[in-house]
């Protein structure tokens, strides 16, 4: 039973306490770029959950069954980035062919994810912290959920504040960054959770 407890703690800590965007600054580009509307933000969030979970599974498998037996762990960065890029392409093609409905929901966001550093970040964290495959997948999933929560909240706030009267210099990106900063303060509160 301790395993399940461990996984639950990991789930909470990866998604809320050390939120991937607000405390680790990974995946900042889509976080700031695709958060104008709640609808697109949730689409991006779903795509990220999908890809990160899959990528952490695949990267974990490759690390354990290919890199470690061959003694070439030092190639992890190169291998992971290529695997992720190929995986995203492959997922895109697969979805287009077999599940047009899902492709319609995620399609536009999939190619953007290749450059999302959160994906590579999660794969590397899994290896660095020696999570193994199951824990790695849970960590990947939780991280992506954390990303989704953050981006949807930010999109909600941006929708509300879109027409506020702010000084001209602060219009656009600076306001978004300030909002993100305030959200980061709020998320600091979660650190008392564990």
């Amino acid at each position: 039973m301790t395993d399940v407890k461990d996984l639950l703690i990991l789930l909470i800590s990866s998604s809320l306490v050390s939120n991937v965007v607000l405390s680790q600054f990974l995946g900042l580009c889509p976080f700031l770029g695709v958060s104008k509307k709640v609808k697109t933000a949730s689409g991006m969030g779903l795509a990220v959950i999908f890809v990160i979970t899959l990528a952490s599974a695949v990267a974990g498998l490759i690390y354990k069954f290919l890199l470690v037996p061959l003694g070439i762990e030092y190639l992890q960065t190169i291998v992971f980035i290529l695997v992720i890029a190929a995986l995203v392409q492959f997922v895109e093609m697969f979805l287009k062919k077999n599940s047009p409905a899902l492709y319609q929901a995620l399609g536009v966001y999939l190619p953007l994810i290749t450059t999302n550093c959160a994906v590579l970040g999660v794969a590397l964290t899994n290896v660095q912290k020696e999570y193994g495959i199951l824990k790695g997948i849970v960590n990947g999933f939780a991280t992506a959920v954390g990303f989704t929560i953050a981006i949807i909240i930010l999109a909600g706030i941006r929708e509300k504040t879109a027409y506020n009267d702010v000084p001209e210099s602060f219009k656009g990106m600076p306001m978004v960054l300030l909002t993100a900063g305030l959200m980061a303060i709020a998320f600091c509160g979660f650190s008392g959770l564990l």
């Binding site: 607000l22 405390s23 680790q24 600054f25 990974l26 995946g27 900042l28 580009c29 889509p30 700031l32 770029g33 695709v34 030092y74 190639l75 992890q76 960065t77 190169i78 980035i81 290529l82 890029a85 895109e92 287009k96 047009p100 492709y103 319609q104 399609g107 536009v108 999939l110 190619p111 953007l112 290749t114 450059t115 999302n116 550093c117 590579l120 970040g121 590397l124 964290t125 660095q128 000084p167 001209e168 210099s169 602060f170 219009k171 656009g172 990106m173 600076p174 306001m175 960054l177 300030l178 993100a180 900063g181 305030l182 980061a184 303060i185 600091c188």
Partner: protein
């Protein structure tokens, strides 16, 4: 970035370009993830900047040497492999000789791979220029990045801990604003920086220096359709695929409508699609269909 090829690219000109004219952080707003994450102190910022500089110089040099060998179609994967190789080299060097900084920077060292500055320079400069200017372009850009990171790190360290490079600067009575070395502080500092950038741009535009003002960019909106930055690394992932995905999303109905449309209308609708957002373009097409019926 289009004016790069006009001038004779002397090493010195390249250095100045990277440091000031096209400073990757202050002017172009590229590579924001590491900028925010590692600038908790000036030392960390400097370490990250120099690591990136090393990777940038070497990858620019090698890509420039191989620019006639790498086929155009597979250039992005080829760039990524070259960059990832140098990142790995730098990572192990830092682990061996600078273990403290390596520990502080942690996962952000291998993540240099996905830093858009490096891929951007490879694509925008090194792939179409000779090795020596490319090398100095990498050096200039890298030093510009290091300079920016060190500045931001110094500000955060000064406000958040009252020190710069671990030297006490503030008087003993100063109470550090802790939040500046924590995650939210990074967002606030960057917000101030972008606001300053906007301010300068607005001033420049009012003074009639539009070309200078247009050079200043505030980060990536993931809006490659309307983006003027041809050197952006992401552009090459998105542009083709975005339209492809759009086509798929719009479905057969719209395609049939497009086929039925006259050639002149087709062009105009494409322009409308480029300018407007997706939903706007959709509406446009629907309206046109309605008009026809």
């Amino acid at each position: 970035m289009s004016n790069l090829k006009k001038k004779a690219d002397s090493p010195l000109e390249r250095l100045g370009n990277g440091l000031f004219k096209e400073n990757p952080t202050f002017v172009l707003m590229l590579g924001m993830c590491p900028t925010l994450a590692v600038t908790t102190s000036a030392m960390n910022g400097l370490g990250m900047g120099l690591a990136t500089t090393a990777v940038l110089m070497m990858s620019n040099l090698i890509i420039s040497l191989l620019r006639r060998v790498i086929p155009n179609r597979v250039r992005i994967p080829a760039f990524i492999v070259i960059i990832a190789t140098f990142v790995t080299v730098v990572q192990f060097l830092m682990e061996a000789y600078l273990p403290d900084i390596n520990k502080a920077l942690g996962i952000y060292i291998p993540l240099i791979v996905v830093n858009c500055i490096i891929l951007g320079r490879a694509e925008a400069y090194a792939y179409s220029n000779p090795p020596i200017p490319s090398f100095f372009d990498g050096l200039g850009m890298g030093l510009g990045f290091s300079f920016a990171l060190t500045c931001i790190g110094a500000v955060r360290e000064l406000l958040g801990a009252g020190k710069v490079f671990d030297y006490n600067i503030m008087p003993a009575s100063y109470v550090p604003i802790n939040i500046f070395v924590l995650a939210p502080g990074a967002f606030f500092v960057l917000a101030a920086l972008t606001a300053l950038q906007n301010y300068i741009r607005i001033r420049l535009r009012k003074a009639g220096k539009k070309d200078k003002a247009d050079k200043i960019q505030s980060g990536c909106n993931e809006d490659c359709m309307n983006c003027s930055d041809k050197g952006c690394s992401k552009r090459f992932y998105d542009n083709s695929k975005k339209t492809e995905a759009k086509d798929a999303m719009n479905g057969a109905k719209r395609r049939r409508a497009a086929l039925a449309r006259a050639e002149g209308e087709k062009v105009s609708s494409k322009e409308a699609e480029k300018e407007g957002s997706e939903s706007f373009a959709d509406k446009n097409a629907e309206e046109k269909e309605g008009e026809k019926e």
